[in-house]
Symmetry: C2
């Protein structure tokens, strides 16, 4: 019997790579999607492609988005600096927030899922070790799923689409533990907001800070390639 | 005082052009958005640009989407024919359905709205004279609005985004009546699913059929340019 298909949003970072491993482990044939939206960390695009291949995805799609779509974010506007992690700012949504990004990504995943006959979409949202982005919260994910189940012809025909965020309540060390058990090679993943062209991390941004702490908390060696 | 800004989804058809006129009439500075997603009716793109300009929009954005994103629709797949309207099929979702299209368009409108500080998004969904598309129904629009109000930094900061679908319960003749009162020149709008390069309509597809009937029901001359 053919395996069910799933669409997996894959940024090439630690979380989404772990999610891809989880989706594969659950028995899905995975189509991975990455987005080229003018982000400064270009290395994540090649990391995604390699990770998709190494996990045997059935297809990898890179969607190019108009760079003007997402404005006023340090991830897309090179005139804004990516700040170092600062615990005092931990309750604020940082300048790396990209307007409605996950909504745009999930919407496109929904379009592709319906096109290929997949009822499952996976993404790596997480609310424990994260930067307070609103579009990672469980209530947001539930609302997106509700909307998605009214949006499509598949839904009208009685098929239910599920938005899976298997990491949403895990801390970074728990995520890494799962990923290692499933064979994720974290040296190939790129989480840093300002990785260089070779995918080497800065070690100081929010994303690097959470990631570093995850390996330390788990007590395993951090395989991240730093600049 | 500066006017509030709104994002208006503008396909260049009868409905969205009327919505632009309504949004302007309500006192908004309108940014219009069109999408180049490989649709067969290319004339709607130039119609949108002209209509945006003639209604004094503050900006017009054409978002180019990967043509592979939307598959298996007669609007994007030139190997599928656009069917003539057939009353017997009126309760089925037709082959012109594009997977998750309005969800993708509204998501991008949400990203742009947040980027420019707009809390209002207008689109021309309608459930009276329409083709049964699921992503035009009021329950879908409500679900999208709920999701949008959990998705963004603006929402977390207490700003509410509204998805306006002012035509949703109007029939075509009522829409045309409103548009004429607000100065819409319907000869410049392109509704046909297979308009030619000059924007001239086929007269036989679902979209042409609903539009024709609207002018006839209202008892005004149909200014549509036919092939």
């Amino acid at each position: 019997m053919a395996k069910p298909k799933a669409v997996v949003l894959l940024s090439g970072g630690l979380d989404s790579s772990t999610v891809l491993a989880i989706a594969k482990d659950k028995g899905f044939d995975c189509l991975t999607m990455s987005f080229d939206y003018g982000q400064r960390q270009r290395a994540e695009l090649s990391a995604s492609e390699k990770l998709s291949h190494s996990f045997g995805a059935i297809d990898h799609r890179v969607v190019k988005l108009d760079t003007g779509l997402f404005q006023h974010s340090a991830l897309t506007d090179l005139s804004l600096d990516v700040p170092d992690y600062d615990e005092e700012d931990a309750d604020k949504i940082p300048v790396t927030y990209v307007p409605a990004r996950n909504t745009v990504f999930l919407s496109m995943a929904l379009a592709v899922a319906e096109s290929i006959g997949a009822d499952d979409i996976f993404f790596g949202a997480n609310i424990i070790d994260y930067s307070g982005y609103p579009d990672c919260r469980p209530e947001y994910i539930d609302a997106f799923e509700k909307m998605a189940n009214l949006a499509t012809k598949s839904a009208v025909e009685g098929r239910k689409v599920s938005i899976h965020a298997p990491l949403v309540n895990l801390d970074k060390s728990e995520i890494i533990k799962q990923g290692l058990a499933l064979g994720v090679d974290y040296s190939q993943t790129v989480s840093c907001y300002q990785a260089d062209d070779q995918g080497r991390a800065c070690g100081y941004c929010d994303s690097c800070t959470f990631r570093k702490k995850g390996f330390a908390d788990l007590g395993v060696e951090d395989p991240t390639r730093y600049q």
